[in-house]
């Protein structure tokens, strides 16, 4: 139904796509996978008129098409959820859902009541309970992704393209999303699905196309591939070589008998956190579990001083850290990798190099003058260590693929040589290879005595990576799992137990 033939696209010197053939059938769910920077998002943007291919053709419903703008693709019946959530933060949720096709009254005016009702229904049917008249920007990324999904569902499309829709979603929401996708496919809608959470692919997709370095290297039914072969295709290595890796890159548990290096107590954030406390020992990985909006991101932000707290204390190494000051937190050795890469992480116009060195500039300068040589050395080290894929460290970071941007940010924080590293969704949008690398890195860092707080929506990551898991609900700590009790099932139960609001657990 939607096809490309020999599509090539390059940006300056970067060949993002090289002669890619791709085809999507009616009613199929087609996975598109590949490493970071393999060209998935670029292919999607070519399909939907954001970019024009340098050469090659796009065919839709049998006819060759040339979309000049995303609007044209949409009008033709292709609806897309782009990778970086692309909604308007200052507008209400309802407006975001219906932008451009709002319900009208008899007088041609927008029927606000109907729009709000419609949005509430749609969002509600996805299991999200929010005030649809509130500003979208105030919601967490996960909720925003659900809103984007609601928007994509609200139109009758023949093709729905989802670029990493699950990256910020919790198991529950992922299940909802899958349900929606299957319903759509059942009605004959073709779906393109991109994800770095490979397990999801077998649960959902019919076929898969693997991209590597802008080339299509494999297309075939999902069931014919096992995980190892898929990864081997993605990385371009031998299956045998890949096979030894586990589900995650985590190896084992850490030494945890030392005194806590970070202790937070009674953190209060109006309407968000109610007396949250936690402590982490050097070398320990503390997991934070919880449902969407349960306050995990707030907790780490509050510890970092980036979210004003009304009361509560944070101590590092027995010393109280001045509250509500990022600079003091940093100086005390705390670092935070934020979940929202685009809004709170990268500085798009700056080079990769300057983005990495950002937090340690004063250290790399004497009398206010930067030592370019020392910056280069530092940057080179981390580019190699984290295997960041850049043409040149002076390339603007905005040109990197999502996963590589994430690595740049991790490098930024490692430069500060933290004693406590708060990681909010550190593997969000990172490919398998990189994900395993990041996970291994977390292990390694913990092994070197770093205290890590890990927020993740991926159950596996928490269970395998953490030494201990705190469960949050509605801004309070409602449980702790450690040792033998730390299994996927136990975690699920802990989450569900508090979320079911009186009902019999969940039907998962």
């Amino acid at each position: 139904m939607l096809e490309t033939e020999g599509v090539t696209k390059s940006f300056g010197g970067v060949h993002a796509l090289r002669g890619v053939d791709f085809s999507l059938a009616r009613g199929e769910i087609h996975a598109l996978v590949g490493e970071n920077g393999a060209g998935k998002s670029t292919l999607i943007k070519v399909l939907t008129g954001v970019h024009r291919p340098d050469s090659g053709a796009v065919r839709f419903a049998g006819a060759e098409v040339e979309f000049h703008r995303p609007a044209e693709a949409q009008r033709a019946g292709i609806s897309t959820i782009y990778q970086e959530v692309n909604l308007v933060p200052l507008l209400s949720v309802a407006r975001n859902v219906f932008l451009g096709r709002e319900p009208r009254t008899r007088f041609g005016l927008i029927d606000t009541a109907k729009m709000n009702r419609g949005a509430a229904e749609l969002v509600g049917s996805l299991g999200v309970d929010i005030d649809v008249t509130g500003e979208l920007g105030r919601l967490g990324l996960g909720v925003q992704q659900m809103v984007a999904l609601a928007r994509a569902m609200s139109v009758d499309s023949r093709v729905v393209i989802m670029d990493e829709p699950t990256s910020s979603l919790e198991a529950k929401e992922v299940a909802t999303l899958f349900q929606v996708a299957r319903d759509l496919a059942g009605r004959g809608v073709g779906i393109v699905f991109v994800s770095h959470r490979l397990d999801e692919l077998w649960r959902l997709c019919d076929r898969v196309t693997v991209l590597r370095d802008g080339r299509r290297v494999h297309t075939g039914p999902m069931t014919e591939l096992d995980r190892v072969t898929l990864v081997a295709h993605m990385l371009g290595r031998d299956a045998g070589e890949v096979a030894r890796g586990g589900a995650t890159g985590f190896e084992g548990k850490h030494d945890r008998d030392r005194e806590p290096v970070l202790t937070a107590d009674g953190l209060e954030v109006r309407n968000r956190l109610h007396g949250v406390g936690l402590s982490v020992r050097p070398g320990e990985v503390l997991g934070l579990g919880g449902l969407l909006g349960s306050g995990r991101s707030e907790t780490v932000k509050a510890v970092y001083g980036a979210l004003p707290v009304r009361s509560g204390s944070v101590e590092v190494g027995g010393r109280r850290v001045r509250p509500n000051s990022v600079r003091h937190a940093l100086r005390a050795g705390i670092a935070l990798l934020s979940e929202d890469r685009k809004a709170e992480g990268i500085i798009p116009g700056l080079s990769v190099r300057d983005n990495i060195a950002l937090a340690v500039l004063p250290r790399l300068s004497r009398a206010g003058i930067l030592s370019e040589r020392r910056i280069d050395e530092l940057v080179d080290t981390f580019v190699r260590r984290l295997r960041i894929k850049v043409a040149n460290p002076r390339q603007p970071v905005r040109e990197l693929s999502g996963g590589n941007q994430q690595k740049v940010l991790i490098a930024r924080w490692l430069c500060t040589e933290p004693t406590v590293f708060l990681l909010d969704e550190p593997t969000r949008g990172i490919d398998v290879g990189a994900k395993a690398e990041v996970q291994a890195l977390i292990d390694e860092l913990a092994g070197q005595g770093l205290a890590v707080v890990l927020v993740s929506s991926e159950m596996d990551e928490l269970v395998e990576g953490a030494d201990r898991i705190l469960v949050l609900h509605d801004g309070t700590v409602t449980g702790e799992l450690a040792g033998d009790r730390m299994t996927g099932a136990a975690l699920l139960a802990a989450l569900a137990g508090h979320a079911g609001s009186g009902e019999e657990g969940s039907d998962e």
């Binding site: 200052l90 041609g108 309970d129 309407n271 449902l291 909006g293 079911g500």
Partner: protein
């Protein structure tokens, strides 16, 4: 099926957030009401019907221009040409009035609209920064004005008895037409912003232009319309002024763009776009006008002190506004 998303501490948070938002957006209104009350108590001649109508009438010219500017700013742009276009509109109206009222109305609207259209096309299609394009527009409109008035030497007069004079000098129910016009225009503007897809698109573009584009909204068209409307409204403001003063004064509108922008921003519109209200801009214009009036009430104040005081008041108002927003927001 159960709703398993941990809802944000909804209810209270939602309404609280909304209260905060209203306070922030309507901070200017709070300050306007306060200053009107204070001025009424302090000066006998302030609260008189005559004086208040004066304020409203004086504000109406600026308000018309501010309406167009509001949409442009909300779309994330800016229009520096409004002052010159305002003056040009006035001169064209006075010139046209000699050929009848219809000409007095149409000529300025068409020409000023065309200037806005060209600016909009260059900005939207060419992707040039609005600041520079409309700065050039400022020069262009002023140059055009000088060209049609012999380097400013000729001032066209609206012929005595022309119906065109009635437009700004007449009134209904004892209230000048310009005030009515402003009320209607802002009513329409408000509806357009809140209840039309054009308005949503403007806000979406201002909020996140690339997202608006990816959502398939007509970004180019909407921008072009915003600048064209702004040109038309600036020209219309000038036309009203020409009717009010019965002449096409060539020296008008210098620095007006900054006054209009500050009114719009005072009214709570974000200069970066994406948020704001039409009513806020009206409040902003009134606030500026009241400040000016109050300064005059003080009487024989040296003109330099007037500047110092009005600048200071502006700073105090925006500081107070920020403060309100912070207090309510936390």
């Amino acid at each position: 099926m159960t709703t398993t998303v941990a809802a944000a501490p909804a209810g209270s948070g939602g309404t609280r957030a909304r209260v905060a938002r209203v306070a922030q957006r309507q901070g200017a209104l709070v300050i306007l009401v306060a200053s009107v009350l204070a001025a009424t108590l302090a000066f006998d001649s302030f609260g008189t019907a005559g004086n208040l109508e004066n304020i409203a009438l004086q504000a109406s010219f600026l308000a018309v221009v501010a309406l167009g500017m509001t949409f442009v700013i909300m779309s994330g742009g800016i229009d520096l040409s409004v002052g010159s276009v305002f003056a040009l509109g006035g001169v064209l109206a006075a010139w046209g009035s000699r050929y009848g009222t219809l000409a007095a109305l149409l000529v300025p609207l068409v020409v000023c609209g065309a200037i806005g259209l060209v600016q909009g096309l260059v900005i939207a299609r060419g992707g040039l920064p609005p600041f520079i394009v409309t700065l050039a527009g400022l020069l262009f409109a002023r140059g055009l004005l000088l060209l049609i008035s012999d380097e400013g030497a000729t001032t066209y007069k609206v012929p005595p008895g022309s119906a065109f004079r009635e437009l700004a000098q007449g009134g209904l129910l004892g209230i000048g037409y310009p005030i009515w016009i402003v009320l209607v225009a802002f009513g329409i503007g408000g509806l357009l912003l809140r209840r039309s897809s054009y308005g949503s698109t403007v806000l979406a573009i201002g909020g996140q232009e690339d997202a608006a584009d990816l959502m398939g909204l007509p970004v180019l068209r909407t921008k072009v319309i915003a600048y064209t409307t702004c040109g038309v409204l600036a020209g219309f403001g000038g036309l009203l002024m020409a009717s009010y003063t019965s002449s096409g004064v060539t020296v008008l509108g210098v620095g007006m763009e900054l006054e209009v922008i500050s009114a719009v921003v005072l009214g709570g519109t974000l200069l970066t776009g994406g948020a704001g209200t039409v009513l806020g801009s009206l409040v902003g214009v009134l606030l500026l006008q009241v400040i000016r009036n109050v300064i005059n009430q003080v009487g024989s104040l040296n003109s330099n002190w007037q500047a110092v005081i009005s600048g200071t008041i502006l700073l105090v108002v925006v500081t107070a506004q920020r403060w309100l927003a912070k207090v309510e927001g936390r």
